[in-house]
């Protein structure tokens, strides 16, 4: 009887702790705003043509109509409705960016765990390669690789994910190195645990917090990177209404005053990355509290 009450108490205590940290998160205005913006783009991307005012692909009006009551954001060079295209422009990037972030964070965490735990030769060798990768801007290496491999969705995910790996690995490695100096690791060694067990069962749960934060941060950078690559012509390919791609197709027309097919997708990119960074910032401050 007493034992059951206690168990219930503890369960409810833990649930309370979880609820409390969630409540703290939801008290942060940045987190709510970020979540709302992201949710909006996700809904638009999923609902797609069901809610856009015009067919974003095949409804050709007069080209480069300025914003007007019928076309609130105007039309692009081919006469397609800019608003409709911006609304569903998140489709590709919202698939590519999270996948790339997940790939990079998973691979980077594994690598970081191994580097941080085993130090010595393994760490030295891998660190060298990681350093070499880190000495180049991600965009530049991604550009090179995508030009060689050709840009398909899968390749963009792979390339961005792999290029994020060393960055994540460095962060996780630092966290693991802090952990492995704690005495519970020594205690585990003293009772004869294997390195694999210590990494997976003892250390990993304690570095999960920073890894989750890293995941949101990487998600933001993935959108940043994919948008830039699309703008450079090696990311998401036509006829996608992707924002970065739209800017790339239309930016030369800005000089002649036709700014709307460029500005609105650019604003959409900005809103999306800012939203994710607001979420990441809130998570970070909650997990460090």
């Amino acid at each position: 009887m007493a034992a059951t009450t206690t168990a219930v108490d503890i369960r409810s205590e833990r649930a309370k702790a979880r609820r409390e940290s969630r409540a703290v998160l939801f008290r942060k205005p940045g987190f709510i705003i970020g979540l709302a913006i992201l949710a909006m783009w996700a809904v638009f991307a999923v609902a797609g043509q069901a809610i856009t005012p015009y067919d974003p692909f095949n409804d050709f009006a007069k080209g480069h109509l300025p914003p007007n009551p019928e076309h609130l954001f105007g039309t692009d060079r081919l006469g397609r409705d800019v608003l409709s295209r911006v609304m569903i422009g998140a489709r590709d990037v919202l698939i590519v960016a999270p996948l790339a972030a997940i790939l990079g964070v998973t691979a980077g965490s594994l690598l970081g765990l191994i580097m941080g735990y085993y130090r010595g030769i393994v760490d030295d060798l891998v660190s060298r390669v990681v350093e070499a990768f880190l000495s180049l801007p991600v965009i530049l290496v991604a550009l090179l690789t995508l030009v060689v491999l050709g840009s398909s969705t899968l390749v963009v995910v792979l390339v961005v994910g792999i290029l994020f790996t060393p960055i994540v690995a460095r962060t996780v490695r630092a966290a693991v190195q802090t952990e492995r100096q704690l005495d519970y690791v020594t205690a585990a060694k003293l009772r004869g645990e294997s390195g694999l067990y210590i990494m997976a069962r003892e250390i990993f749960p304690n570095v999960l917090g920073p890894i989750v934060v890293e995941l949101t941060v990487r998600f933001g950078y993935a959108i940043f990177t994919v948008a830039t690559l699309s703008f450079l012509g090696v990311g998401i390919q036509p006829p996608s209404p992707d924002w970065g791609l739209s800017v790339s197709e239309e930016y030369t027309n800005m000089i002649s005053g036709k700014w709307w097919p460029t500005l609105f997708p650019a604003l959409a990119i900005a809103s999306c990355v800012v939203a994710i960074n607001l979420i990441a910032d809130a998570l970070q401050s909650v997990s460090s509290e």
């Binding site: 005495d183 020594t186 009772r191 004869g192």
Partner: protein, 696 residues
């Protein structure tokens, strides 16, 4: 049961003008916008030239009081009531610029961790000189003052020190520099917050000597915070005992330490291993319960929930301030019943379990680290034995190799080739991974800091269960049964088992860590400073538990501690280390009686005593030499006050048995040492019991 909110009368005030007068100070910390009271009406005063100590366990508010006295408080602190008068001036009301002038001219502070108190990117010179230029002195004059200030704190070669960066000085030197700066303005109020915590015993002793000398020269009022009651006793004229944000007893230091008259003071002092008490005599007294959470409303007596004398009266009426002796008062309804609180009776201690059956033998164990191309020997030719069921205490200052020795036994560090460690009948593998699980099971460890030693992601049950199954090979229900038994013997409840470490108090966490070490019935448990992260009352309970477990299981302990009271309580034999070498080994009582190796002698005399006995301090000159470059001959000769010139710096003495069971590494014959150390008073003081009040 309604509490009667009575504003307590101000305690009887010592007459004459006070340099610092704190009146009914109330202070709260804002935690997520909600004020949590930390100080609940603190009142005391310090006269010019007087030194006043605040004692109490962590969280009692003593540091907050000290920082409030100079109004250097965290951003979320709010003074919600009371006054702080320095020379009659209320500093609570001061504006920013007035406060700056007040700190410039009238108040100074010295803190723990002198390394952090100095700007790491600026040389000592500008930092010390600045303390004088800010007072209006000009270039050359300020520099001359700085040099004089460094000389005043007995820094040799101050010109050279001025050109150094802080990290190039030792901890003791850094603290001297901080003290020199603090005294620059000849302040009326000098606040010392744990000024010697973290320094080695011999360095601590010399810094304390220095501070005592300096404050006797000035007319500063000194407020001293220290968790080490010995430091308070040797430094302070009067003390205040704090609990949960209130001073519960105050009086002349010697009187309070010898005749405490508040149940909390009594509990605190009885919990200390003092007066040479040993585990074979009696358990240490403990205080039941835990400190109230910060911000708990405590409308009447703050100590009521843990007090053995508490009655309904204590819950209903605020206790009065009762004068219990000349200048001594206590905030208690029941000062007349104080004598009822008794330490456990002599004769209730644990049976002696030490036997002469050898458990572990170390022969010629050395460990050399390599650091940027240099060999740094941490252990040099250590020969040491541990016997069945005994506690071997290991003492020595930081860098003496105590921890390395422990880590070598555990197999965390592999010793150099040629070293031999024998467990029972067979040699041990150099590192733990090479040892069969049978051997791993035999040697386990209790760490200093339970927060670091317990995986914060695991429940207590998982922590213990994994150790049990890994070390004993048990499975399923048998593991659960053993975990339950372990928990029971450490007085952990089923409820505790389901919690995560952060949900437990420090004492409970250390119990979990001890339970884990005992999971596989080890023959040897290494305990590296097992109580130094804990408060006094918690320490007592942990020491009792360790003694009990040893009596039950006949496990041998290797106990590392800088606290000689703790070592004396628990250890059967003591080994003294210096620069990676064993200097002396003997039975614990032998070590405390002497005659000793000159290093042991200095170490023992450096400890500030809470029992107030007068001792001749053996001062050690110079710094501990670098292990990378040890002195020739006897490694202690550079600091040894009894060095024989022409011999000690040339020849290293052997570790020889100078009398049965007493090994020493010294050229001076035992009888000569006995004669030289004869004037030293014996360290055994008869234990006193608390008597009735004799003077009111």
């Amino acid at each position: 049961m309604t509490a009667v909110p009575v504003r307590d009368a101000a305690p009887p005030a010592p007459s004459s003008a006070a340099a610092l007068k704190v009146e009914d100070l109330e202070l709260a910390y804002l935690v997520r916008g909600i004020p949590r009271p930390v100080l609940r009406g603190v009142s005391f005063e310090i006269r010019p030239g007087e030194s006043y100590g605040l004692v109490g366990e962590s969280g009692c508010g003593k540091s907050t009081t000290a920082y409030a006295a100079v109004r250097y408080l965290p951003r979320n602190a709010r003074i919600t009531g009371g006054r702080i008068l320095v020379n009659g001036d209320d500093i609570v009301k001061k504006s920013g610029d007035e406060l700056r002038r007040f700190r410039m001219h009238h108040a100074s502070m010295v803190y723990q961790d002198p390394g952090a108190a100095l700007n790491p990117t600026t040389k000592i010179g500008p930092q010390v000189i600045e303390a004088f230029t800010v007072l209006g002195q000009q270039g050359d004059q300020a520099e001359a003052s700085a040099l004089a200030a460094l000389r005043r704190v007995q820094i040799a070669d101050p010109e050279r020190v001025l050109t150094r960066y802080p990290h190039q000085l030792s901890g003791g030197m850094q603290q001297r520099v901080v003290i020199a700066m603090a005294l620059a303005s000849d302040p009326q109020l000098l606040v010392l917050d744990e000024p010697t915590t973290g320094l080695d015993a011999t360095v601590e002793a010399s810094v304390l000597d220095l501070v005592r000398g300096l404050i006797s020269e000035t007319s500063s009022a000194v407020l001293l915070i220290a968790h080490n009651l010995g430091v308070i006793r040797t430094m302070c004229d009067r003390v205040g005992v704090m609990y949960a944000g209130k001073i519960v007893e105050e009086g002349d230091a010697a009187r309070v330490f010898e005749r405490p008259r508040h149940p909390y003071s009594v509990g605190l002092l009885q919990a200390l291993p003092r007066h040479g008490v040993r585990k074979s005599q009696r358990p240490l007294a403990t205080i039941p319960g835990t400190l109230p959470q910060i911000g708990t409303p405590l409308p009447t007596c703050v100590y009521v929930d843990r007090c053995p004398l508490a009655t309904d009266l204590c819950r209903e009426v605020v206790p009065p301030v009762v004068e219990v002796g000349p200048g001594q008062w206590s905030r208690c309804h029941h000062v007349d019943r104080i004598g009822e609180i008794q330490a456990p009776q002599p004769g209730t201690g644990q049976a002696v379990t030490a036997h002469d059956e050898l458990t572990l033998e170390m022969a010629n164990v050395s460990k050399t680290f390599r650091s940027s191309g240099h060999d740094v020997p941490a252990l040099v030719g250590v020969d040491l034995q541990m016997f069945d069921g005994e506690t071997l205490g290991l003492v020595g200052e930081s860098g003496s190799g105590k921890s390395t020795l422990a880590r070598t036994i555990l197999g965390i560090e592999g010793p150099d080739a040629g070293s031999q460690i024998t467990l029972g009948d067979h040699d041990l593998g150099a590192v733990a991974t090479q040892r069969p699980s049978r051997d791993k099971r035999q040697i386990q460890m209790v760490f200093q800091n339970p927060d670091s030693a317990l995986n914060r992601g695991w429940s207590v049950r998982n922590i213990l269960g994994r150790s049990v199954s890994k070390l004993t090979g048990l499975r399923g229900k048998e593991v659960d049964a053993r975990v339950d038994r372990l928990a029971e013997s450490l007085r952990l409840t089923q409820r505790h088992l389901d919690l995560k470490p952060r949900q437990l108090s420090g004492g409970l966490k250390q119990r979990v860590a001890i339970a884990r070490a005992f999971a596989g019935d080890p023959r040897i448990v290494v305990a590296d400073e097992p109580t130094s992260a804990l408060d006094v009352s918690v320490q007592a309970a942990i020491l009792n538990v360790l003694a009990e477990l040893q009596a039950e299981s006949r496990t041998s302990y290797l106990l590392i501690s800088h606290d000689l009271g703790v070592v004396r309580y628990l250890a059967d034999r003591i080994a003294v280390m210096y620069l990676g070498r064993i200097q002396e080994v003997a039975d614990a009582e032998k070590i405390f009686q002497g005659p000793n190796h000159p290093y042991t002698e200095a170490l023992l005399s450096a400890v500030p005593s809470i029992d107030g006995e007068e001792r001749t301090r053996i001062r050690l000159d110079g710094e501990v030499p670098s292990p990378a470059n040890p002195p020739s001959g006897c490694v202690f000769h550079t600091r040894c006050p009894r060095r024989i010139d022409g011999l000690c710096e040339v020849t290293e003495p052997p570790l020889a048995e100078v009398e049965p069971g007493h090994l020493m590494k010294c050229h001076i014959p035992l009888e000569e040492l006995r004669r030289l150390q004869a004037e030293r008073k014996p360290l055994v003081v008869e234990e006193q019991t608390v008597g009735p009040i004799d003077a009111v």
